[in-house]
Symmetry: C2
Subunit: 173 residues, 2 copies
């Protein structure tokens, strides 16, 4: 897997963005490489292309599989694992958002629910603070519920709605 300058640029940029979103550079680079690659790659291919340690590739691939962004395939007569990334960009996005919702939003919601419950028999926390916790909880719950509904729509519907842009507002005005 020889990288052309264009591919290299995409992969490096992806790696740089990773840090800003709390993702390790290797994971992001491997994901970018597999996303661009026309064919599935072996772990060794990745080592050769990105020049990172074999063990790092192994761990990063496991993480990408944990995110459900990468899967394993096999080639007849070859016992090595071949890795491929989801290619449908829309799916890539929803998969990532679903994952972050589950790993970060849901636990935060749980925490806020507990805090809100706790706040009821808690006389020391100022009323204003309690209200803010409550409104935060309500807000995230509402957004979360909205996301679940949108997520369940058939994609063509969603696409049409998206392409309407702000014209959907005519419905409610």
């Amino acid at each position: 897997m020889q990288l052309t300058p264009t591919m290299q640029r995409c992969i490096l940029h992806w790696g740089e963005m990773a840090g800003r979103w709390g993702i390790s550079r290797s994971v992001a680079q491997i994901h970018a490489l597999l996303f661009l690659s026309p064919a599935p790659l072996t772990a060794e291919d990745i080592v050769g292309t990105l020049e990172i340690a074999r063990s790092n590739v192994s761990v990063s691939l496991k993480e990408l599989q944990g995110w459900d962004l990468v899967s394993i395939t096999h080639v007849l007569g070859d016992r090595r694992d071949y890795f491929q990334a989801r290619k449908d960009i829309w799916e890539v996005l929803t998969t990532i958002v679903d994952g972050r919702k589950r790993r970060e939003i849901d636990p935060t919601l749980a925490m806020l629910r507990e805090c809100a419950a706790e706040a009821k028999q808690d006389s020391e926390t100022p009323t204003e603070v309690k209200e803010r916790v409550a409104s935060m909880l309500e807000f995230i719950e509402e957004l979360s519920g909205w996301y679940d509904q949108v997520r369940a729509m058939p994609r063509p519907t969603l696409l049409k709605l998206m392409r309407m842009g702000s014209r959907v507002a005519k419905m409610v005005s």
Copy 2:
């Protein structure tokens, strides 16, 4: 500013989430504290409450101001700066998303545009890769444009639309 257990829990949780989104713990904790706090706080108040170095508070506050999430106020007869966070949760969210779009999405779009242009007089990059770059560019541009339109809607409209959930789909079906 004495923290009650409930407040402490919120602040600590916020700090823990921060790392996963590429934000430093101190910045997140300070933001959480100011968000919860009924009244504006001085830098020293924050030092006392969160037990972090004065200099760290200073730098973190600058960052939060850079994100437009925190602003300075003053108290008559007191020359210290008092800091307050945006309290409207909806605004907090849009401010953060706007910021991340500007800092991360826009540069990525620029990179993709350049790659797509570059790809035209580039014979070595495989056609499939070029297509993937192009489709990615198109996808992010579309999403980005959609966000701008939604962002420009009046908030009551947006709220109504949101509360309709998947019922908006009736428009296009």
